[in-house]
Amino acid sequence: MAEPAIQKTPETAPGVHPKPFWSFRPRSDRESGDAVVSNFMLHWFPAKVSKASLDWSYSFWLGTASAALLLLLVLSGMPLLFLYIPSVERAYASVKDIEYVVTFGSWIRAVHRLSAHLMVAVVVLHLVRVFLTGAYKNGAGRGQKRPVNWVLGVVMLLLTLFLSFTGYLLPWDQLAYWAVTVGTNIASSIPWIGATIRELLLGGRAIDQPTLIRFYVLHVIALPGLLGILFIYHMWRVRKDGGLARADREGVLEQKAETPPGPTKTYTLLGVARGQAPAIRAASLEARDTTVNAVPDLVRRAAIVVLGTIALVGMLSVFFRAPLEEPANALVTPNPAKAPWYFLWLQEIVTDTTVHIGSFTINGAFLGGVLLPGLLLTVLTFWPWWDKSPAAAAGVWLAKSRRRQNLVFLAVCLVILVFTFIGTFLRGPYWHFYWPWEAWPEIPGRI
């Protein structure tokens, strides 16, 4: 008896995706949209994006670059997780092994360190770009909450800095030890609660094993996890706010263009007869001349940025090895003891802000290390609510209506840069001031 022939399921049916992958070279809008919908990695992309928001010279793709650096940090962190030992006795030796014994170890460490440094720089530049374009402002779209995304971004910048801080502590070399000393003493300069905070950070009153394990866990789990969650939320909010600020500006503010009748649209016979239907004047995001499909246009550019970043860091890391100072020595403070470049402006500020008023003294540690940065951070965080410029200024480089605030912002940036420059190039032994052409004096070794 012949078996009944099994009906083969048709290749195409609603909800069926016959191929194992998706097309990056779609032949139709449908295939293009399908690539986004059916791919988990791409589902947070819109089907269509505004052409203008893809401009290299609008965003410089700094957010994408920082995400690429984060990816690179996670990837290069993986092998380091296997090789590093978070113990005060063995941490330095394990890093030294990574640097000098492990095959490709020094390159992996260089990639990790270089990505971290670049990430600080790129994240800050991203913030500068968003400020100067007023991209934290709600534009034309309904229900936008761009200020929320700005606040998220500020928090992520802080996390990036704290990740860097906890990261350079792990080798437990001189830089690490004295950075913990100074960093936690800044925390302890806060009136009343300072000592408690320091004890909580150190896991005791002295810098020892509990300190290292705390910073280690923060560095490898707590902070990256938090940053990852916020990153996802950040991206989701970009999507929900209608893409980059430039996009919704374009949707409403620019001259409406005449849309020719498209093959997918249906028109009433009456409309066609009266000549109304084809003459739709629209500037919606669907308009063909202002938008492109996310696949492949957005994906292609994102891929260029991500792969370009990875390639750049990978190659630079061959030439720029990560330094390792002498092992942590509680007995000797290096002279001068300098923080990494992105904290040098703070080091310069805590140097200059101790104030004596009569017999009353405010420690620069509190004024310059806590109060001033705290104030700066507060203003930065709540700036979107203070900015009363019109919505039309959203997504415009150096908008006229925001000129004054852009100037103030740039002035603050300049001051920070100047302080960074002084700290980096003009400070020598005992944090004395030296011009670049002045030689540093010979300082005898120990005392």
Binding site: W178, V182, T361, W431
Partner: protein, 171 residues
């Protein structure tokens, strides 16, 4: 009908509340476990060695981050921990020792102290002269242990830089 819906409401709230309370309790317990109950600090009363081992002038003890000065039979100890942000200051010998009256008793100043982290400067008696240091360096009480005649410092006892607390004169 209304009674039923309000009972549902009540149970829903009870359930939600219990869930939140349980999660909060566990979160608090987890976080509280990270607050150290004990700190295994180094002892604060430390024997520094026989008095004869201390030369006239200054001796730096890196383990205790302490400068011990001797002037004949008189000793005093000044902390090397910068009062600004806790780096270890370095002593620099003065070209010519200076005489200064500190809290009523004369003191020969042979050094000054400089901090490598943020450039604080202290005079030979620990006074903050320039830079961001908010306070003078701390003086600690010195004594002689009765059992073996070693010099003993009490790092938990900051003292005024004067007799009888700040200066130890051997008989």
């Amino acid at each position: 009908m209304k009674a039923l819906s309000s009972r549902r409401e009540l149970l829903l709230r009870l359930g939600t509340g219990a869930g939140i309370a349980a999660l909060t309790g566990q979160a608090v317990a987890s976080l509280r476990s990270l607050v150290p109950n004990v700190s295994y600090d180094a002892p604060t009363t430390v024997k520094l060695g026989l008095t004869a081992e201390f030369p006239d002038g200054l001796k730096f003890l890196p383990e205790q981050r302490l400068f011990v000065f001797r002037e004949g039979n008189t000793f005093h100890a000044i902390s090397a921990v910068c009062t600004h942000l806790g780096c270890t200051v370095r002593a620099e010998a003065l070209p010519r020792p200076e005489e200064k009256v500190v809290e009523g008793s004369p003191l020969r100043l042979t050094h000054r102290f400089l901090c490598p982290c943020h450039g604080s400067q202290y005079s030979g008696d620990g006074g903050n002269v320039s830079g961001p240091a908010p306070r003078p360096l701390t003086w600690y009480r010195l004594s002689v242990s009765p059992d073996d005649n070693q010099l003993v410092v009490d790092l938990a006892a900051p003292v005024e830089p004067a007799e009888p607390d700040g200066r130890l004169t051997l008989a």
